[in-house]
Symmetry: C2
């Protein structure tokens, strides 16, 4: 069994690390939050007191961090992965970050003989726990093949999309569609409610047709109950859409509707709903339409 | 078997009438286009030379017309349904029109003892042919029960949503979500392409996750082939979204993203693509992003 250094034990990283442990991988873990390290050590991981310790003697380094700056710091920064990783190590960054930062980091890794894959995930905490994430990978085919078995301990699918950065491009596309599909559902359903028609009956009538979507089936029941427990937090979705905009500006591909829905979410954040599920977008429409809003907003 | 008067033999009405004939209903049909009447007469219908003839002695009148003004004219106008229908007749308007027009027409019907249901459909020509439309009904429960069996000869589902007009409210909600889900897919996929990543690989990687939708699975293959054969024509979708906006303004429920996607479609119409499938929305984004557009635009 391979030895793995695992850096970043947040809401996603923790269950992902546990699934690798369950599968028999030898894990050394590191996080700036010491409690998080202790928790995963109880599941059988070795504690790293620094990045240097966490990646000592490993073949593979997995990073699962909040956003682009953290990935740059942990991999390229002082005392970071590149300072200590041995030649030939494969670094798998599973964070959802800007594709250009993935490419920038990969280029620095290459100079030192370190191989790099970007491998962001979709599915959120519940699928991280079950080990059924969808993993979108960018990088070289041979590196992907070497770690595919490992990835499939954390996800039910791991697909190589293209070169480095393409995993995050796929993730961005995913997050754009999810955000806009939620906004579409919200805009339509508030109109239904204001027309004096029962949103649940409309949902049941249309869900099997062309308007059907995974968003509709997973979020509409939450909306009907006014339950905005994440799921996926608005503040994280804003972050992903900001990466989408950065990417879109860089490659010159305007994304006006995405920009608009990002600003809708930004309004919810300003109103203190940053930790609500992204289905709370409907509260924006409820306020616009001056109906009773299900949550303080 | 009941006798049915069927008015409106367009792309949708023709196959719907045929399915009623196949099921054994006695049909008398009328359309301003005489050729359309002749075609359905070959399938066993009786020809009406006027609305008066078409509804003579029937228990049920079905109308399938382009938009609100046609429905008002055919039902309320001079020589229209209300001038000749016997008391107790059930008028089922299966056109996709403004919910307020449905209510207006229903009120006039009521004055003369005529019962009215709005019952717009979703699924387009292919499902009209197969008799597998999704039918969204607004009106009284007892009237719905009387014609449910008849509706189920044209559709695979017929759901009573609420009072008169609620069928069209559901249809509007459906069309808003479809339009915005197509725009979401298009905005994301052009970004993917401009990032140098293969849209088909991204599609395959994300289709089973939260971004999955019936729009994605039915339209993405068309988009990848550059095939914009309708399907559902842009000009018809514009009409439906115009009804959505009229409804939204009336009930004071702002729908800014729908307005924006309607104007995107309007731009395609101006460019001569009114008869393309609504998945051609992607051509708008291709032009925005200055990539080679798949169709003259």
């Amino acid at each position: 069994m391979e030895k793995v250094g695992f850096i970043g034990l947040g809401i996603m990283g923790k269950p992902m690390a546990r699934n690798l442990l369950k599968a028999g991988y030898e894990l050394c873990v590191y996080d700036v939050v010491e409690d998080a390290v202790r928790e995963v050590v109880q599941n059988g991981a070795k504690a790293g007191n620094s990045i240097e310790e966490a990646i000592d003697g490993v073949d593979v380094v997995v990073t699962m961090l909040p956003d682009s700056p953290h990935v740059k710091e942990v991999i390229l920064g002082e005392g970071g992965v590149l300072a200590y990783a041995k030649k030939g190590t494969i670094v798998i960054d599973m964070s959802s970050i800007s594709p250009t930062v993935s490419q920038e980091v990969a280029a620095e890794c290459k100079k030192k003989g370190i191989r790099f894959l970007d491998a962001p995930v979709s599915g959120g905490e519940p699928k991280a726990v079950k080990g059924t994430l969808a993993i979108m990978v960018g990088g070289k085919e041979e590196d992907f093949q070497k770690v595919k078995a490992l990835l499939l301990k954390m996800g039910s699918t791991a697909v190589l999309i293209g070169g480095v950065g393409s995993g995050n491009v796929a993730k961005i596309a995913n997050q754009m569609m999810v955000a806009l599909n939620i906004a579409a559902m919200s805009e339509a359903m508030v109109l239904v409610e204001k027309s004096g028609v029962d949103p649940e009956k409309v949902y049941q009538a249309i869900r099997s047709g062309l308007a059907g979507s995974t968003v509709l089936d997973s979020k509409m029941p939450m909306v009907l109950e006014g339950d905005f427990t994440p799921g996926f937090r608005i503040e994280l979705h804003i972050k992903d859409l900001k990466n989408a905009l950065d990417c879109a500006h860089l490659v010159n591909s305007p994304i006006p509707l995405t920009a608009e829905v990002m600003e809708i979410m930004q309004g919810l954040k300003v109103a203190g709903m940053q930790a609500s599920d992204h289905s709370a977008i409907i509260c924006h429409y409820e306020r616009l339409a001056d109906v009773e809003v299900r949550k303080e907003y």
